[in-house]
Chain length 310, copies 3
């Protein structure tokens, strides 16, 4: 298995075996992520973080990952003042970053931007979200969280909750969960249902997702509840939005109907989807999930930068 | 005395003995702060600098302090584009930074924000200013400057000049100077006088602050003149503002009436409070004071991060 | 030859021998710039990058240069939120950065800002562009590119193309090329011709620049075509602008009339001056030129910071 210099644009760029390898390696990264152990694996290597759209959580976790591995970081946190504003093409900006770094993390509002960037860069490109497109390291850390919390992904009952239509990262996650043979329950308002193509992809792996609007019923058998943000602007009127948000809010009352070892996940930032009261329960793993971004990104960066394995 | 993992929210979090210890340790940091000596005491540790309100001087001195100690830095310099803008709670943002770093420096426009942050973080929080609230490292570097310039704080005649009502950092400073038994003279316009509670606090340490509006008279006996910014918006009309600013301006003419070894301090940035002509005199220590932010913050960071003492 | 602690404000601050020394040293930096070799020459030294005007390419190349040499970086990428916004003088901001770093890179919209900064800083100042003024490291990397691509600068036919009136970096380049005895052809619209003083300077080195508006004719004998941006706002009407931009566009058709080994340069970012079709030809060296900013800035930083020579 060879990851050196590979671009990471979509979770589909990896085979199941490669994903398993990354998750296994990420596990070994945990003591280095917490700062308990130290390494200089990527000593004097430079990561460029190009955020054409701000995303503090993703950016800081990549930058922390690089520092934990002994490397350095250059870049920008938002597009104001970049050459793009002066009319420079994305290709030229990427060539520039390629000259000054060993790997590039790119976040961009336009779908396909990361794939385009990869065409113009010798340094490996990691897609940190391209608009409605892919966000493969989010998908990896989601899988990692389920695997470390539940020992296994296969056979687990996973609810994907919220806006399943427009949130494409949840499409990648559905694909990846099906690849790992989880049982999927899709809970969304009628107007925000998972697209047929994604369901078809899952079926190709032998997984038959169940669609429902009834969260209260679905929660009873679930091992994992994966909540996502429901964006106000998707709804024709505020009343309908409030009704949906209200009925899909993860609360203590809802969790009383769940298995004792159900885990609640969320990619964060959250707004109103999860009641803060849930934070103190054993169900809440979303903060651990956010932390998991660190060992997963450390594993990925060290693999594509060709550092010898720890 | 144990500082490891302690939050630094207010100067009142420290005993007099602890403050003395920090100042003593800061003195030993000077050759490392100037770059004359090198250390890797905080090697591979990560400081997160979360500036929800910009403050270049404070931010750069913390970042320089961390680098001088061999550590790394992640963070943001202003709130634009942070998850807070997407509606995330401060608690969730802090939890995120906690996952990705070993200590957190926070600057926030709202009073109490740093204390709140400390509740949600395992990593120690350092308050770098929370609105009208506390700014303990500013207070420490002010004490450090008086001590290094005048050998002692006890018994020194210190003038606090300017807006003593709204500028709460000057309240902390008055408290700390009284703790160290300096003699305090409070010079301000009638409308911007030091609040009674602060004066009461000083009295509890046996210090009786003298209040006056007459700077020319007070300057004659002073060892330290601590000037602060007088903000235009505190005044009902421009004429009154101009009159006050004019009469409290630190100029060469004023300093001719002062002791030869009077030192002039200012937290910076200054606007019109000190005439640039004063810069060349021996009275001016405000640039040294700004530099002192570095050894003081180095001392504090290495203590709370539990690096072994140099 | 001694570079330690020297300010770098204008290319004219260096003798011809000093420039040759820097270019020679920059060549030795290439394997360290690509990351093939590692060094910790500037270990624990701190570079402050103060960008009062954004310039991503210049900033990232300085920051990468510092990291490649084992050093650290603090600073800001744009002026929003700096103390200058609160009314602080440039002098005070520079004194602050001086306290917290070992060398300062400054980019400022006002001509003369870097020279002013140097008056108030003990740490060496590197001018990374001050408005319509100087940008000496751009000049050095341009010379470096010609020398590495064409073996020699002396006797080479160099076309300077575009806005030769307002773009002062091209004035410095003309000066430096004349110093190195290149033959200069100046191609610009009538209204944007090179000022007489610059031509006079070239003559003092025994170089007689030829001025023309005819690019098609000039290209035939050229060894180097240096294109610059033609800014729309320099023209009284859009029609005239379009005509000029059209006739000076570097295209495949134009290059068919050029020598086989002509090199095309551009300081970047480019907008419409060079057709992307040219990128794939052997003529295009502008991406290499951008990379060259790295070894050249590494050489300069290590010289002024007094690191021992590699």
């Amino acid at each position: 298995m060879n990851f050196k210099h590979r671009d990471v644009i979509s979770i589909k760029d990896f085979t199941k075996e490669e994903i398993e390898y990354i998750l296994e390696y990420a596990k070994r990264m945990i003591p280095y992520a917490t700062g308990e152990k130290h390494t200089t694996l990527l000593k004097q290597q430079i990561l460029a973080t190009l955020f054409f759209e701000p995303s503090t959580r993703t950016r800081l976790s990549f930058e922390s990952a690089m520092h934990r591995l002994g490397g350095n970081v250059i870049g920008f946190a938002e597009p104001s003042g970049t050459s793009q504003k002066k009319g420079e093409s994305l290709a030229d900006t990427i060539r520039m970053a390629d000259s000054y770094s060993d790997a590039i993390v790119i976040r961009h509002p336009q779908e396909g931007a990361a794939r385009l960037a990869a065409e113009f860069s010798e340094a490996p490109i990691v897609n940190a979200g391209d608009g409605a497109g892919q966000h493969p390291t989010q998908c990896l850390l989601d899988l990692f969280t389920i695997q470390t919390e539940k020992k296994n992904i296969k056979g687990k009952n996973v609810i994907l909750l919220g806006d399943l239509k427009y949130g494409r990262t949840v499409h990648s996650l559905a694909y990846a969960l099906a690849l790992f043979k989880a049982n999927l329950t899709l809970v969304s308002p009628e107007t925000l249902k998972m697209p047929k193509e994604v369901i078809q992809e899952c079926k190709e792996f032998g997984v038959e997702p169940v669609s429902t609007t009834n969260l209260e019923k679905a929660i009873k058998e679930a091992d994992v509840l994966y909540a996502t943000r429901i964006q106000k602007e998707r709804f024709p009127d505020a009343e309908e939005y409030n009704r949906v948000v209200g009925s899909y809010k993860v609360s203590l009352a809802l969790l009383q109907q769940a298995k004792e070892d159900l885990i609640v996940m969320h990619p964060l930032p959250r707004v109103v989807e999860i009641d803060p009261d849930v934070d103190k329960t054993n169900h809440a793993v979303y903060f651990t999930q956010a932390f998991n971004g660190l060992p997963v990104r450390m594993a990925l960066l060290s693999l594509i930068l060709g550092g010898k394995i720890l």
